[in-house]
Amino acid sequence: MSFNVLIVDDSNAMRAVIKKVIGLSGFKMDSCLEAGNGREAMELLSDQWVDVIISDINMPEVNGLEFLDLLKENETLKEIPVIMITTEASEQRMQEAFDRGAKGFIKKPFLPEEIKRVLYEVIGVGSDGQYEEDTRDADEFDF
């Protein structure tokens, strides 16, 4: 089983690094879409499906938190798990992101294995490639 990933970050360099790291990590990625902010991401999602989104918070036009709100308002898109990847990792900011629907958090700078771990965690797939039921409550996420 392989997955379609959308990376949302205003930095071309960071998008390239995340894409490279996902590829090198062994995560089974089918296609990788890229957007420079939340508005561009919503445009892409209007006619393309992805299995997981990795999004920065600090972006121009539509930032990561506003992007979460837009996804939440859409009956179909709200089901897509979103991982926030950001330098702004205060507990309050992370909680704000989780309250708005984020399913995972990666703090920059990151190690490659962290991306792979969080990706599989939010998609609910074990190392054997099979889906695993996520039975955690929101308050069980570690900050």
Partner: protein, 150 residues
Amino acid sequence: MGNTKKIQEMLMNSIFDVFEKMFFVFLEPCDEEMKYDLAASIEFSGPVKGNLRAYLSTGIANSMVENMLGLETNEITDKTREDCAKEALNMIAGSFVHKLDAGKVFDLSIPAYEKKAGRFGMESPGNVNLLFDSDGMSLGVSMSFYTEGK
């Protein structure tokens, strides 16, 4: 802003962390004035407000691009140097404010970039100035805190 030494240490650790993890560049602190070819800046606001500026030689910017993006020297452009410099500063600022107070929310501006040459040293304006060397390539980082009202 009191306790400059502690602030300096936190900033230095943030810089080491970002450069080692994301750019595989290992820095040595130094105090010799440097020549820079490009600069980037970012503002932070929260319980305290201020800005952070990075001054980079072309050499260190090229190393960052090569190591982070896996590009060959002849593939490096001004745009890739700009992207890496801005992202580095964004990560340093985020790491620093987290060390400063992990329980408080800080907002970071979108980083700005200038391709301009100049000199940077310990005596340059700024509350905290740091200089680094990596195999003859130079990096300078300056942090200023805004006083009330700005």
